[in-house]
Amino acid sequence: MLENMAEEALPNGFVENPIAGSNPPASKKKRNQPGNPDPEAEVIALSPKTLMATNRFLCEICGKGFQRDQNLQLHRRGHNLPWKLKQRTSKEIRKRVYVCPEKSCVHHHASRALGDLTGIKKHFCRKHGEKKWKCEKCAKRYAVQSDWKAHSKTCGTREYRCDCGTIFSRRDSFITHRAFCDALAEETARLNAASNMNNAVANNINYHFMGTPLGPSMAQHFSSIFKPISSNDEAINQTTRGLSLWMGQGSSQESIGNNNLHGIHQLGSVSSGTIFGDPLVSCSNPPPSDYQLNWVFGTKLSSSNAEELTASNSLPLTDVKEAGTQLLSVPSLYSTQHQSHQTPSANMSATALLQKAAQIGVTTTDPSFLGSFGLKCSDSQVRDGNKLCGVLYGTSNPILSTNIGNDVENLAGDLLQVHPAKRRHTMNEESGGGGQTRDFLGVGVQTICHPSSINGWI
C-alpha cells in the first residue's frame, strides 16, 4: 500500500492531456458524494504518520523535501542525477479512495472512504488534529491552514445584527437566534398589552406552545413577574410624575420611575403586613403617596410636606461634617443628585479611578510624608510599611521573602492565590484579574477588569 503512495494518482488529464479543457463534455467524470465511494475503487489505508507527512521525498544531495515523487525527480535533474518520471503503468485508471486512520471515525470504514488524498488529510486534521491556527480577530481556531486563511478573509467582513444587539458572523446562526428572539419579543409585547388591562397575571395569559417546549411560555411568565418596567397605568403616572419631579428626576425615563415608586409602594406595604404585592396587581391601587414618602425618607420625619422633607434631610448631613468642610456634603437632595449626575465621564467613575490608581502606582510609601505629620514612626515601621507594599500589592508571582510577622500570613495568601487552577488558566485572565494581577507598584500595566475575548463576550 505504501508503495502505491509513492505514485500518487495524477489528477485526470495531467500527463495524457496537456491541453486543459479539451475533454469532451460527454466523458466528464461524475463525482461521487463524499463518503460514498465508488464500489469499484481501490481502498487505501494510511497510517497517521504517512498521512500527515509532508515532504517525504528527499533529495540525497541537498536534502530538500518534496511532496511528490515527480517533483523530486525534476529536482534531481538539476543535480545531474539520473531521474525517471514514472508514467502511469496500468491501462486502467483505478480510482483510489482513502480511509481515515482514526478508529472511532465514521470514515474509518471502507464503505465510507473519502476519494481524495488531500481531502482525507484535511479531514484528519480537522476532526482528529490539534487546532494550531488561530484567527486574530475572533479567536477561532483551525487545524488546517487553508481553513484558517479562508476564514481570515471573511472574518468581520459581514455581520448580522439582531434587534437585541447580538452580532453574528454566520447567517444560519443569525436566523436561528432571530427566531428565538422574535418569539420572546412577541410574548413580551403581548404581555405588555395584556397587563395594561389590569387583570391578574394568572387569568390573563394564553398559553402558547410553539413546538419549542418551554420556550415562549417561559418568556411570558418571566416577563410578567419580573418586569422592571411596570404597566403604564394612567393613574399611577399622574401621581408619580409629580413625585418624580419633586425628587429631582426630570429625566425621560418616567416609566422606570413608576417602577421605583411601586417599589416604594411595596416598601410601604411592609408595615401594613402584605409584603408581597404583585407589581402588576398593584397598578390598580394607586398608593397613598404621602405615606410612602414619609416611610422611605425616614420614619423620624413626621411631616409630609415636600419642602420640609428637603430641609430636614440636610440635618443629618451637616451633623456629620465639621463646619469648615460643609462644602463636601451638599445639603440638599437636589444638588447631590445634580452633582452625581454631572459626572458622566468615565474619569470620575469609582471603577476608573481605582484602575488609574493601580496604574500609576498610588501606594508608594513616602517617608517624608509621614514625617511631615510629626509622627514619631520608628524606622522599622516605615520599612515594614514599605515591605508590606511590596509584598502585598501586585504580586503576580509568589515572592519568597523571608519577612516574618504579618508577612507570613500575607505570603501564604499570595501563594494560595497563585495555586494552579487546573483548567482555569483561561478564566484567570477573564475573571477580572483575580488577586494576582493587580500591580500597584507600576511594574507592569495591568487593568483590573480584563476585557475578554469576543468569543465569550456577547
Partner: protein, 452 residues
C-alpha cells in the same frame, strides 16, 4: 486646582505637601457642585491604602491620624469614590475598635438596635432596582425547568427564601409545561420566621390559584447554622437546589486555630512550617487553604447526598477571603466600585434610596469583609475557580447552562435599558454577570455525579 491650596508651602505640590492640610482646608471643591478632580481622587485612594497598612499593622496612633484626614475628604453624600471611601474607613475604624478597644466597641454595640425590617426594605429595594438578583433567579429557574423535564415530583431547596417572585414565576412556568405541573415542594431557609410565613402564604395562594399540588416547608435558621436533619427529603423526589449569594457564609470559621500554630509563635522558618502543617498547601483541604471550613464541607456533602438533579449557584466573583488584610481591602474596593458606579447610573432611584442600598447592603458587606474576622466574617466571597475545586472535590459535576437560558437572560436585561450590564458566557457553560466589563458575579449549575 492643586496650586491654590498649597500656595503657602510651595509652588508645585509634591505628594507630601499636598496632604499637609491644616484643619478646615479639606474641601476638594473650588465651588459647590464641582466634582473632585482626578488628582484629588488619586490622593484619596493613596491615603486609604496608607491607612489600610496601618490598620493591618494594628497601629492605632497612625491609623487614627489617617482616618481623621480621610474622614474629612470622604463622604457618604459625595461622588461614588467618596462614598465608597467613607464606607471603607468606617470599616477600618470598626476593625481598630474591635481589635484594640474591644470594650469601647462592645459598649457601642450594646445599644445598637438592628432594624431588621429596614434591612429587608433595603434588600427589596436593591432587588427591584438592580437586575442582579432577578437575573440570577431567572437563570436558576430556567435551569430547574430544563433539568426537571418529565419529573412528576419536584422538591426545591431554597437556601435563602426571601423573594416569592422567584417561585411564583416558576409555578407559572411549571403550569405551562406540556406534561403539566409536577407536585411541587419548596423548602425555604431564612432566619426570620415572619419572612418565611409571608412567603408561605403567598406561594400557597398562587399555587392554589394555579391548581398545583404544593407544599412549603420553612426552616427558620441562618444558613450557616442550619441543621441538616431538618430537611425532609423523601425518596422519589427530584431535587433542585437554589443558592443565590449564600454559600459563602458557610466559609466562616474560627481562624484562631491555625493561628496558634503559626510560625511566628513557633519561630520556625516558613518553609519548614509549611511542610509540617501540610505537604500540599494549595489543596483545598489543607489547613492553610482559605477553603478549609468544616461547615462548608459538611454542608456540601449533605447536599450531594441528596443527589440533586440540578444545583444552581450564584456567587460574587471576587476574592474577599484571602488571608492578607490589605489584599482584602484592595479586592473589596475593586469589587464594590463598579457596584457603586452602577447604582449611581440608575436614574430611577432617589439619592436617599441609593444611600440606603449603599449603606445597608454594600456598606455592611464591606464592613464585614474588612472589619470582621473569624466566625463573624460571613462575606467570604471567592472566585468561581475556587468554588469549582470545592464542589468537584465533594463530587458534583458541571452542567452547562443552556443557550436558551442565556439568551433569555440577556433579553431580559435589555428591559433595564442600561448599557453597562452584560452577561458574559464562558466556554464551560457558566455565566458571569458584568457591569462595564467588570465581573460581578458568576452563575453556574451543578448536578450530582460527574457529567459524561
Amino acid at each position: 486646582m492643586a496650586g491654590h491650596q498649597d500656595a503657602r508651602y510651595s509652588a508645585t505640590p509634591s505628594s507630601s505637601q499636598w496632604m499637609s492640610l491644616s484643619p478646615g482646608l479639606g474641601s476638594p471643591y473650588t465651588m459647590i457642585g464641582t466634582p473632585p478632580s482626578e488628582e484629588w481622587c488619586m490622593e484619596l485612594l493613596r491615603l486609604i491604602k496608607e491607612c489600610g497598612n496601618h490598620v493591618a499593622a494594628s497601629n492605632m496612633p497612625n491609623a487614627n491620624i489617617m482616618l481623621e484626614q480621610i474622614s474629612r475628604l470622604a463622604s457618604a453624600y459625595g461622588s461614588p469614590i467618596q462614598r465608597i471611601a467613607s464606607y471603607c474607613i468606617e470599616a477600618f475604624a470598626e476593625r481598630m475598635l474591635r481589635t484594640k478597644l474591644p470594650g469601647l466597641y462592645n459598649a457601642f454595640n450594646s445599644t445598637k438596635i438592628s432594624l431588621v425590617s429596614e434591612e429587608n426594605v433595603a434588600q427589596r429595594l436593591f432587588y427591584n432596582v438592580c437586575p442582579f438578583i432577578k437575573v440570577a433567579y431567572l437563570i436558576t429557574n430556567q435551569a430547574i425547568i430544563e433539568a426537571m423535564e418529565g419529573e412528576k415530583r419536584v422538591h426545591i431547596i431554597d437556601l435563602y427564601s426571601f423573594e416569592p417572585e422567584q417561585w411564583i414565576d416558576l409555578l407559572h412556568t411549571f403550569k405551562a409545561r406540556p406534561e403539566g405541573p409536577p407536585c411541587l415542594k419548596i423548602t425555604g431557609v431564612h432566619d426570620q420566621r415572619v419572612v418565611l410565613e409571608q412567603m408561605a402564604v403567598r406561594l400557597m395562594a398562587e399555587a392554589s390559584k394555579l391548581e398545583i399540588s404544593f407544599h412549603f416547608i420553612p426552616i427558620v435558621s441562618k444558613l450557616e447554622n442550619v441543621d441538616t436533619e431538618s430537611f425532609c427529603v423523601n425518596a422519589g423526589e427530584a431535587i433542585a437546589i437554589s443558592s443565590a449569594f449564600q454559600l459563602h457564609s458557610l466559609l466562616a470559621f474560627d481562624e484562631e486555630v491555625p493561628r496558634r500554630i503559626s510560625p511566628v509563635a513557633s519561630k520556625r522558618p516558613l518553609r519548614k512550617f509549611l511542610e509540617e502543617v501540610s505537604p500540599d498547601f494549595t489543596s483545598p483541604s489543607s489547613i492553610l487553604s482559605p477553603s478549609f471550613s468544616p461547615k462548608m464541607r459538611n454542608f456540601l456533602s449533605f447536599l450531594r447526598r441528596l443527589s440533586p438533579k440540578v444545583m444552581v449557584i450564584a456567587e460574587q466573583e471576587a476574592n474577599h477571603n484571602g488571608f492578607s488584610f490589605t489584599e482584602r481591602v484592595k479586592e473589596a474596593l475593586d469589587f464594590y466600585a463598579p457596584l457603586f458606579d452602577c447604582l449611581d447610573s440608575i436614574r430611577s432611584i432617589t439619592p436617599m434610596e441609593r444611600q440606603m442600598i449603599e449603606k445597608m447592603i454594600f456598606g455592611e458587606e464591606i464592613k464585614n469583609i474588612i472589619a470582621c474576622e473569624g466566625v463573624e466574617r460571613k462575606e467570604r466571597h471567592e472566585k468561581l475557580e475556587k468554588w469549582i475545586l470545592r464542589l468537584e472535590q465533594v463530587g458534583f459535576g458541571w452542567v452547562k447552562l443552556s443557550y436558551y437560558n442565556i439568551i433569555h437572560a440577556r433579553k431580559y436585561l435589555q428591559n433595564y435599558g442600561n448599557d453597562g450590564y452584560n452577561i458574559k458566557e464562558e466556554e464551560d457553560g457558566y455565566v458571569v454577570f458584568c457591569w462595564n466589563r467588570c465581573p460581578l458575579f458568576s452563575i453556574s449549575a451543578w448536578q450530582f455525579g460527574r457529567q459524561k
